[in-house]
């Protein structure tokens, strides 16, 4: 049994409403009363690309959910599109746990980015959203202006998180702290200025988009 399955089963062993069993390899089955069973693959990869997503789908009949167990797991946009088109939920272990309880595992997106993704898509001035990664969106406004936006979900984003995002995903115009209760540290703002981007919350981002 691999390490991520051990941790996933240990976590479900603490749950009151759901239980889980090892099916084999990277697969577990999650049982929740009055909800459909969930067949989930728990992967240890650091990046889920389209090929990884397709491999799991092709090898596992009836796969409901693909879970990236590592906290730093990154999902490429093509992988997200592929999974959603094939009715497979995707995201963190927390997303999987919630989806099993909600009974919507095969349509659930990563819960960390779910609301910020929706917020961008529903904002009236946004014409097009190209999701490059789970946390990197390139948006085109009706005015023609474009912005590459990186999302950081932490409560108190740090300079390291801003620099790490830039190093990992390339230049962004805006680092959006999507935690509604979050407060970027002054060092994070300074790191953004040094790199050439702005670190902001939704109200500032909305104001910027309304003027662009």
């Amino acid at each position: 049994m691999n390490w991520q399955i051990k941790y996933a089963l240990a976590a479900f062993a603490k749950e009151r409403q759901s239980s889980a069993e090892h099916v084999g390899g990277d697969l577990i089955r999650i049982m929740t009363q009055d909800r459909p069973d969930v067949l989930a693959a728990i992967t240890s990869v650091e990046t889920v690309d389209q090929a990884t997503a397709a491999r799991y789908r092709e090898q596992v009949e009836g796969l409901d959910f693909l879970c990236g167990y590592r906290a730093e797991c990154v999902w490429e946009g093509e992988a997200i599109q592929y999974l959603e088109e094939n009715c497979i939920g995707w995201g963190s272990f927390g997303t999987l746990s919630s989806a099993a309880l909600d009974g919507n595992a095969n349509s659930a997106p990563h819960k960390v980015y779910k609301f910020s993704d929706r917020l961008l898509r529903q904002y009236g001035r946004v014409e097009k959203v190209d999701r490059e990664f789970d946390r990197i969106h390139r948006i085109t406004l009706r005015s023609g202006a474009t912005f590459r936006i990186g999302m950081i979900a932490d409560y108190e984003p740090t300079a390291n998180e801003v620099r790490s995002m830039w190093d990992r995903f390339g230049p962004v115009d805006i680092v959006w702290n999507i935690n509604p209760n979050g407060t970027p540290q002054p060092e994070a703002n300074e790191a953004g200025r040094e790199l050439g981007c702005e670190v902001m919350k939704w109200e500032e981002l909305k104001e910027l988009l309304s003027r662009a």
Binding site: M1, W3, Q4, K6, Y7, A8, L9, A10, A11, A13, K14, S44, Y69, R70, A71, E72, F93, G94, D154, E156, T158, A159, N160, E161, R163, Q185, P186, E187
Partner: protein
């Protein structure tokens, strides 16, 4: 500091064992203050929260490499802060972070 509950037979590491392992496998930690916080301290962790406080630059880059290798089979969630950021947020006090060295020395 307990073992991850519900799975002792599966050989999951205790908080102390993790601290000993990290201090032994990441020599660059001597340049940083390293802490554990969150649920693993109480034996119910789905991931292992680690706080690293210290300098940036090459030292940090080297430490990240060592931690990535050390975490190849462990679910680390690592937060890196500059000393000034820790001072602003009082993160160590607020989250009741425990130094890895203290954990490693505990029984």
């Amino acid at each position: 500091m307990g073992r991850v509950e519900g799975a002792p037979e599966q050989g999951l590491m205790t908080a102390r064992e993790i601290a000993v392992y990290l201090l032994g496998s990441c020599p660059s930690l001597e340049h940083f203050d390293a802490f554990m916080f969150g649920s693993t301290l109480h034996g119910i962790g789905q991931d292992i929260d680690i706080l690293i406080v210290g300098p940036g630059g090459n030292l940090l880059a080297q430490l990240k490499k060592e931690l990535q290798y050390a975490g190849s089979s462990l679910p680390f969630h690592i937060l890196y802060m500059q000393p000034s950021e820790e001072l602003h947020t009082q993160f160590v006090a607020k989250e009741r972070c425990i130094p890895l060295a203290h954990l490693a020395a505990s029984c």
